[in-house]
Structures are given as structure tokens and as C-alpha cells.
């Protein structure tokens, strides 16, 4: 039994050593059971290995973004064709790109803090644009955003990476003024408050 395990591990290592190219993949389709299985099965068949994966369903639509490593002879075109073929005819929308290390990652870790923006109240058109456009101008990165509407009420939650040189109090005051104007509640709080209240 122990001998078998060692062999499997060695085979895995040999495969990993041959993996040279990393790709970023995004797939969108109407949700149904079996999508993750078909996509991950396709990657396995191509001797690929998942490095990171995130999936969500919004109003019945499935999206997945993943990073995977493949043998060096796999190209963007080959991978895209195989993934399109993993679903039913015309079912999957697939985008594939060769992965490049984000240039800002190091700087972001050193000089920024993660905050959570929450918005609740009556939805109006352009709400996400107005917030995100303002953030973009200031160099605030939105790394996660989710929201849903029930009737005319919206709940919007976004995780922001705020550079430390930005005056937090000023930003919070602007959000509060924006909320007053739109008659919605807007709060910006450091992410640690959510860690402390929700995680043991």
C-alpha cells in the first residue's frame, strides 16, 4: 500500500515537472449540474493541473475563473477549442489567456489596506458605475463585488484595496454624503472587523 502511494506521488511529480505554461481561463454559461465536472475533466485529459479556481452563480448564470498549468505544447487556441468541446454544442463561452504575474501585486501588499464597502437601500440605475468610477479615479481597486436586488431594494458588497495614502476619513465622508444624496446606506469598514466577528 505504501509502495503504491509513493509510486503515485512520483508519477504526479513527473507530470508537474513537465507543466510549464500557465493559463487564465474564464467560462460563462447557463447553470446546470455537471459544469465543473466537465471543465475539470477536460483539464485532466489535457494533463493540466488547477492552480486556482473561483466559481459563482448569479441569477441562474454560471461563471468560473481558473488558473491552470499545462504541458508546454498546449496553446491558447488548443485549450479554448478543448474547453468549448467540453460542453454541449454552443453552450460555453470561453476566454483563455496565457497567464502573466500581475505587476502591481507586490506594491499593493506593502501600501494598501483591504476595506469592505456595503450599500443597502433603493436601487437606482448607474449606482455601481458611480461608485466604481470614483474608485477607479482614486486608484482604489475593487477585488470582489457581489450584489442582489429584491424588488427595488439592493444589497451591494464590495471588497476594496485602498492605497494607504488615501485619506480614509475623507473617503468615508464622501460615501456618507453620496448615500445621503441617494437615500441609501453606505458604509466603508476595514476588513478585520468582519474577520473578528465572523471567524473563530
Amino acid at each position: 500500500m505504501l509502495h503504491e502511494l509513493v509510486c503515485i506521488e512520483r508519477q504526479g511529480l513527473t507530470k508537474m515537472e513537465n507543466l510549464r505554461k500557465k493559463f487564465a481561463v474564464s467560462i460563462m454559461t447557463e447553470d446546470r449540474p455537471g459544469i465543473v465536472a466537465s471543465v475539470s475533466g477536460c483539464i485532466l485529459e489535457m494533463q493540466g493541473n488547477l492552480a486556482a479556481i473561483s466559481q459563482t452563480v448569479v441569477n441562474g448564470y454560471f461563471t468560473i475563473i481558473l488558473m491552470a498549468e499545462f504541458p508546454s505544447d498546449v496553446t491558447v487556441e488548443i485549450l479554448q477549442k478543448q474547453l468549448l468541446g467540453a460542453g454541449r454544442e454552443g453552450e460555453y463561452s470561453v476566454i483563455v489567456r496565457e497567464y502573466r504575474e500581475p505587476a502591481a501585486k507586490g506594491a499593493e501588499k506593502c501600501h494598501s489596506q483591504h476595506y469592505v464597502l456595503t450599500i443597502t437601500g433603493i436601487d437606482t440605475s448607474g449606482l455601481v458605475y458611480q461608485i466604481s468610477n470614483n474608485m477607479a479615479k482614486r486608484g482604489v481597486n475593487i477585488v470582489d463585488i457581489s450584489g442582489h436586488r429584491e424588488g427595488d431594494q439592493i444589497i451591494l458588497v464590495a471588497q476594496l484595496v485602498v492605497p494607504e495614502e488615501i485619506d480614509l476619513m475623507c473617503l468615508q465622508d464622501e460615501f456618507a454624503a453620496f448615500g445621503m444624496k441617494k437615500n441609501i446606506s453606505v458604509h466603508l469598514q476595514h476588513i478585520n472587523i468582519f474577520k473578528e466577528t465572523n471567524r473563530i
Binding site: V116, S146, H187, Q189
Partner: protein
Amino acid sequence: MGVFTTEEIMRTVEMIHKENLDVRTVTLGINLLDCAHHDPHYLQDRIHKKIMEKAKRLVPVCEEVSRRYGIPIVNKRISLSPISQLLEAHDEVAPVSLAKTIDRAAREVNVDFVGGFSALVEKGWTRGARHLIDSLPIILSSTERVCSSVNAASTAAGINVDAVKRLAEAIIETAQLSANHDGFGAAKLVVFANIPADNPFMAGSYLGAGEPECVVNIGVSGPGVVKRALEVQIKSRNMSFTDIAEEIKTTAFRVTRVGELIGREVAERLGVPFGIVDLSLAPTPRVGDSVGEILQVLGIEAIGAPGSTAAIALLNDAVKKGGLFASSSVGGLSGAFIPVSEDAALSEAAGRGDLRLEKLEAMTSVCSVGLDMVAIPGDTDAHTLAAVILDEMSIGVINAKTTACRIIPVPGKQAGEKAVFGGLFGEAYIMPVHRPGASRAFIEFGGRIPAPLRGLKN
């Protein structure tokens, strides 16, 4: 939403913005014993200088941290070494001028209150303690932010009845000197049994022996959060007492974690150690931020009715268990407060006659902290008031727990009338005292009630 669900995020947001979760106090403890000097002017100068040096950044730092996490910090306070220990070599006029110096320093650093005009007299008097207690009526009626506490009893020493008698007189004098504000001066004086050395809440906060040179202690709030959590659960499913305790524990865990997060960050920014988080459920006069309302949610229609003591015991115990799991630095009073004037539901229950002094006393035997912010008729005599205090001290001494009295004899007002203190101190219907004058002979014995068997633990 990444590592959190939207529900988790919104639960935290609602706790803060809809259910009145806040940090009730960040209290900076400052050791003053190195300021001792036989010349009162030197003493005052040294104390003023030290408070300014240690506390000048307290309020701005609290505001920064409060904004960062979106958590209100309601009060910023200072607690000092027991001032009586600095008065041992001084005459009887020294306490008043020193209190005015401390009041000025508190104003200059913009803190809400400063505690520590205190004495520990459970076993006997010293010259400094005597002078301090004698000066309390003038100090508490002529200063704005100075608070006082006196430990008159302990499980190890028993009860100093002479001190209790003198304190009862001082409370009545203080109330009379602040008659234009319904005796509010007396709300800044607490008489304790088993006073904790690290309590961040006023008026009983002081920096006790064994504490560091400087330390940040935190008091959280959260009755509104507990009430809302129970309301939602009770409406949505059948709950047993075990389920209720579990829900309170979970909520207390969240509340305590908030307190510790804020406390550690304030301490770090000030460059001083973090001390403790006091996980007491501290109500405010705001509707929805009341311990009394929690009892109502638990099915006690009239607060003070049979079952009230059991309900508060259940609440108090579950809060402690949840808080202890959340933090390894729990201290202070850490229980559920039932300050009558500061809790709208309790105040109304007192006004209706549902909650009487005797039932309140019973409830304090199973929670924190004692007869707190209780208004009684202004013509209550000192012997009767001393007897009320003695009863409360006995509960603390025998049960090896902290109990306290913050009682306001409201000048010129009788039972059933209302006393208005304002702000977080709220307003209270004056509670009748049963058979005033009937305990006079008992109090007259004087001396010290011996320490109970429970005090001999070695």
C-alpha cells in the same frame, strides 16, 4: 464575497448600524504614584503634566480607529491610581484643589470622565482616605469630569460599616450640593465590595495595584445586538433555554471580539499595553439598547415580576461564556449591567412599580454590578441609605463577587417622581425605600462586619 458570505457581512453591519453595537469606553489607565510629593503644588503640577503627556493622543487615536472599523467609541476616559494614596501627607484642603487640577487636565485632553478619585477602606481608614471621602461632596458637585469610587468591603476583609455610614452621609451631602441637577453629583460616586482593579466603566474605574504604568482597557456594549438576535431566533423557531443561552453566547462572542480588536489597535497606536476587555452588557437610555428589553424578549412582560432574576442570571452567564471564548483578556466587571436610569425599560418598570428596590437587589446577586443609578427619595436618612448599601455589600462579600451602589437621593423629590440626569445617564422614576428609619439601631453598632468563611480560601 470572498472569504465572507454577504449574510455575514450584513450581519456585522446591522449589529453596528442598526442594533447599537459600539465600544462603550476606551479607558486609559495611568499610574500616578510616581507623582507623590509633600508639597501640594508640586503634586498638582506633576499629576497635570503626567496626564497631559500620557493621554494627549488618546482621543485622536480613538477617533482614527473608530473610523477605520466603522465602530463608534462612545466614551474616552482615564483611570488613575487611587488618589487617596497621594494624599497621605496632606491636609484636608488638598483633595479639592487636586480634583480641580485633574478635572482641568481631563478637559484639556478632551476625555469624557476621569476615574480614580478613590480610596480602599474595606479594613480601615488612613489619613488620605479620610480626607478624600470628607471632600467628596464638594469635589463631585464642583467638578465636571472627576469620578470617585470607594471600596468599603471585600470577601477577604469583611465590611467596614463605619466607612459605609460616612459614605452614606457623603452621598446625601453630594446630592444636596447638586440639587439643581436632581442630585447628579452622587451619580459620580460608587461604593464597592470587591472592587476590580481594571474596570474601564465609570464611575468606578481606577488603576489598581498590580496594573502596568499605562494600560488600555475596553468596555463594550451590545444589549441591542443580543436583543435583536434573540428576537429573530425566537420568532423563527421553537427555542429551549439551552438554545437561548447558545444564541446569547454566539452574540457575546462577536461583541467581545470587536472590543478586543479596537482595544489592541488603540493600545498599539498609543504604544502602551492592552489590558482587558470588559464584556459587560452596558445599556443606554436609547430604545433598543436595553438589558430590560432583553428580559421582555425572553418573556418577562413586567420587569421585576417573578422569573426576572432567573432571566438575568441566564443572560449574565451566557454572556460570560461567549466572551471568555472570544478573548483571553477578559476582566473588569464583565456581566450584564442593570443601571435603572440608563436603561429605558428598567426605568419605566420602576415608574410603574413593577421593579422595586428589593427585587432589583435580588437581581444584582446574579449579575453585574449592583444597585446602579437608582434614584431614591431625597429625604432618605443616612442610616437607611447606609443599610441599603450594607445589604448590597453583603451580597458581594458572601458570594465573592463585585457589587456596588450608585444611589442618588434626589433632593426635594419623592417616590414616583422623575429625576432627569441627561445624556447616557438618562432619567429615572424615584423608587421608594421600604420602611426608612427602621434599621437605625442596626447601623449604630458600627465597626466592621467580619470576613465570611469564604474569605479564608488558603
